[in-house]
């Protein structure tokens, strides 16, 4: 098998188009299962009441916001080192979905914080570093599109994305390094761990978010490929048929 076959935008374009629907189907099925568990089956939380159900969106989107940034930065690194076209396009395709996940994590966190902490927002380490992540996504997208030559945009934005990776451990460890309103990690299997239905629902929703993000990225990268390669013969021949 030739591993570099699909690293060419023209072949990956077709592969992404064939795969994307399956990721959306998986995301929808997992979301249906996860929402069923989270909204209908899972019991009330003894301390927080019903509002804890925000966890089924909050934690998966927060995880994905960081994970997608990490994957985006890996593609940026690849594109800088090997100057591969497709990796820069993948990084561009991931950024908007990553930003969306970050926004959702912040938004749901605010609506969870109000009834439990008494405030929508507080400038503490966890919340502030997650907000910085949102601005890193915005900065990446702005910089990538700021140049006449998209290849220069790729390189400048890739550099920003790689520097921004420093923010990921800051988000992750913020609840340990600083005093914060935000609770520590719930996903550990010792002591007062989560109710099994709550945990299952959260993991299923996370899997759904993962599938959704892959699907959205694959669909978007096809548009990025068309935008960037529109003067090539293979793109010209696409619509003509």
């Amino acid at each position: 098998m030739n591993w570099f076959y699909f690293s060419s935008p023209s072949t990956f374009y077709g592969l992404a188009g064939r795969l994307a629907p399956w990721f959306f189907v998986a995301a929808a099925l997992l979301a249906a299962w996860g929402l069923y568990l989270g909204l209908l089956v899972a019991p009330t939380d003894a301390q927080q009441g019903e509002v804890y159900r925000v966890i089924f969106i909050h934690v998966p989107t927060a995880w994905m916001s960081m994970f997608l940034y990490f994957v985006m930065a890996c593609y940026c690194g690849l594109s800088l080192v090997f100057n591969t076209r497709l990796s820069a396009m993948m990084a561009r395709a991931i950024a908007p979905t990553g930003a969306l996940m970050t926004f959702l994590a912040l938004w749901t966190g605010a609506f969870w914080g109000r009834p439990t902490w008494g405030t929508y927002w507080v400038w503490d380490a966890r919340l502030t570093s997650e907000l910085v992540l949102l601005f890193l996504y915005f900065g990446y997208m702005a910089l990538a599109n700021a140049f006449e030559d998209p290849r220069r945009g790729d390189r400048a934005a890739a550099l920003l994305a790689l520097i921004g990776v420093v923010n990921l451990p800051i988000i992750y460890f913020s609840v340990q390094w600083w005093n914060t309103l935000h609770q520590g990690s719930s996903v550990s299997f010792k002591g007062t761990s989560m109710h099994v239905t709550m945990l299952t629902g959260m993991l299923v929703m996370s899997a759904s978010a993962w599938m959704y993000a892959i699907g959205a990225t694959l669909v978007r990268v096809r548009s990025v490929i068309l935008e960037r390669e529109r003067r090539t013969a293979w793109v010209r021949s696409l619509g003509a048929a």
């Binding site: 019991p43 969106i57 989107t61 009834p115 096809r222 548009s223």
Partner: protein, 60 residues
């Protein structure tokens, strides 16, 4: 795997915290719809741009 709620009105009321719960789940729904529309729009624009270039070329 039994349903936790006694009635649908219980479910929608979310123990008095309906505003916070549904603002969160509603945002998720809106976010997905917005992203799907933006993906569709971006693809349409990319295809239109290709079409435009092809038309320009045939004119010249």
């Amino acid at each position: 795997m039994t349903i936790w709620w006694k009635s649908w009105s219980d479910f929608w009321a979310m123990g008095g915290q309906a505003f916070f719960v549904w603002m969160s789940f509603g945002a998720l729904l809106v976010a997905i719809v917005v992203e799907m529309l933006s993906l569709r729009l971006r693809r349409k624009r990319a295809l239109d741009a290709i079409e435009e270039e092809r038309d320009l070329e045939t004119e010249n």
